[in-house]
């Protein structure tokens, strides 16, 4: 089978719907250090359409978080532009909600209050009943109705990450950004959460950008997989279209011979070519 039929070098190979939600153009990030400038990213280009699920994979320290932080607005590119619906991104905002790896829940608020804080901050004008409805709807979506009165330190890591996802989705962001959200979880919880995230994405038609270290996770979840080259001066090496039909079923995908071709190709890319270049 010819790998080239489902991947290509460069960017934007999938047939693009007319309006890109997010455009990353010629983005470069240079950190000044005592040993001179540290070029982390050098000329990154990517276009994301509304409703896509994008995963970003690459070696540790290549600049994945740096890239997503420029999309969320916590960081600014040294040169180049990041635009959401044509608007230059200048600072963080609830239209680009982030699910952080360490959950970032407020431990003195209950699960309910953590989500409520977000809804209340973004929609202060909604009446109380509507806000409550939104909070409960999203907590139900991640199966947390039982735990709403608990404080984050009292619940498991998986449940905390569910709260963080519910909080992010409850404000209906244009783009959901996840930085290695499941890295700290055990294998079973991880698979459960992957399935839930995929289901929510499919039902809500939201747009997701997610960093992962896990090739299987990326293959299960995303429409397009962004492979980064090694740092320093990393860029996007390839963007691979993942051809599996939605809604996806894990067992079904695992039986697909394409799965192993893709997996080997990515493994070879990361640990073959990319590790030799160092």
């Amino acid at each position: 089978m010819n790998i080239a039929t489902f991947h290509d070098t460069g960017y934007a190979i999938a047939p693009q719907p007319p309006t890109p939600l997010l455009t990353i153009e010629n983005v470069t990030k240079i950190y000044p250090t005592s040993k001179g400038p540290n070029v982390v990213l050098d000329g990154v280009n990517l276009t994301v359409s509304a409703g896509e699920f994008i995963c970003v994979i690459g070696h540790s320290g290549c600049g994945k978080s740096t890239l997503l932080n420029m999309v969320s607005g916590f960081n600014q590119p040294t040169s180049g532009e990041v635009r959401l619906k044509g608007q230059l991104i200048k600072k963080p905002g609830p239209d680009r909600m982030v699910v952080f790896q360490n959950y970032s829940l407020l431990p003195w608020l209950t699960v309910y209050e953590n989500v409520y804080l977000a809804v209340d901050a973004v929609h202060p004008a909604y009446d109380e009943l509507k806000k409550k409805d939104i909070v409960m709807h999203h907590l139900a979506m991640v199966g947390l109705v039982e735990a709403i009165e608990k404080k984050p330190p009292q619940v498991s890591g998986g449940m905390r990450q569910r709260v963080a996802i519910a909080r992010a989705l409850a404000v209906r962001p244009e783009l959901l950004i996840l930085d290695e959200p499941f890295g700290a979880l055990d294998a079973i919880t991880k698979e459960e959460l992957q399935e839930e995230l995929l289901k929510i994405w499919w039902e809500q038609k939201c747009t997701v950008m997610m960093i992962t270290h896990d090739i299987d996770e990326a293959l299960f979840l995303c429409d397009r997989l962004v492979l980064m080259t090694n740092g320093p001066a990393a860029k996007i090496g390839e963007v691979i279209k993942i051809p599996f039909e939605h809604p996806r079923d894990r067992d079904h995908i695992l039986e697909d011979p394409q799965y192993y071709d893709l997996r080997n190709y990515i493994l070879d890319y990361l640990f073959g070519r990319m590790s030799h270049e160092e």
């Binding site: 905002g93 360490n102 970032s104 407020l106």
Partner: protein
């Protein structure tokens, strides 16, 4: 059989049960205090120091009256020790309350604004080193009256630990929580109530607890210098002038106990408001 019988009996008497459970916590300090009194009496008896011993204090008519009637009031400065202590505590409450408000407010400002911190930190560190007693003449000249001057001395002594700890608490707010604020674009009010205060609270309480001890130390020093006011500090000075040594020792006992109670009270409040993880 005997054991179970005993247990049954213990459970029926709560006082006995309490004693059996807490015996280990109650007995050693009690023995310690008794030993201390005995050693003190001994040192006095062999003539090592010229202070009265516990027995002499009890025998002293004036000192015994002070012990037995803490609430007597014959007008003017002639009041029981509980009333004297209460007058001092009122001053501490006012000065300390002011210090808490100003210290927390300035601490938040300095914690949030690195520039304000750079500007003010040298001044704070400098003023912090000035001893309470050194403030007394300045306060008396500046404020002209005993009462406001005493309150000012309390304030200026106890404000620093509150300020410095609050500022540190604000600086230590985890970046994660700051990120939540930024991505949700929380209003300043929500940021203060939902993130800043809960996060800095343990630090603020540490400052408050250090400050209450300092405030109590300072009031005694301040009152000794300020003549003619009702208060345990001036009471000691007055007794010294008239050479009533036993009275001084009874008053010192009050000072120590109040200091201990204030500290324990703050510790309790701290445990109640700032739950440990």
């Amino acid at each position: 059989m005997a054991v179970s019988y005993r247990n049954g009996k213990n459970n029926s008497n709560p006082l006995l049960k309490f004693w059996q459970e807490r015996r280990g916590d109650i007995l050693p300090p009690l023995v310690g205090v008794l030993l201390f009194l005995a050693v003190w009496q001994l040192i006095v008896a062999i003539g090592l120091i010229r202070l009265p011993g516990p027995y002499q204090i009890w025998e002293d008519q004036r000192a015994r009256n002070l012990i037995l009637y803490p609430f007597y009031d014959r007008g003017g400065l002639d009041k029981g020790l509980a009333l004297q202590t209460f007058a001092s505590l009122t001053r501490v409450a006012m000065g300390y309350g002011l210090a808490a408000v100003v210290g927390i407010a300035l601490g938040i400002l300095v914690g949030l604004q690195p520039l304000a911190n750079k500007m003010l930190d040298p001044i704070f560190q400098f003023l912090r080193m000035v001893a309470p007693l050194a403030w007394v003449p300045i306060a008396l000249v500046a404020l002209q009256q005993n009462q406001p001057a005493a309150i000012f001395v309390i304030f200026i002594t106890s404000v620093w630990p509150i300020l410095i700890n609050t500022a540190e608490g604000v600086r230590q707010i985890p970046q994660d929580y700051i990120n939540v604020r930024r991505v949700l674009r929380l209003s300043t009010r929500r940021f203060f109530t939902k993130i800043l205060f809960p996060s800095a609270l343990p630090y603020i309480f540490t400052g408050l607890r250090i400050a209450i001890g300092l405030a109590w130390l300072a009031i005694i020093a301040a009152e000794i210098v300020m003549s003619g006011i009702v208060g345990i500090g001036f009471f000691i000075w007055d007794a010294y002038q008239q050479n009533y040594v036993s009275e001084i020792i009874v008053a010192v006992f009050y000072i120590g106990s109040v200091g201990l109670l204030l500290d324990r009270g703050m510790a309790l409040l701290q445990r109640w408001i700032v739950p440990e993880k």
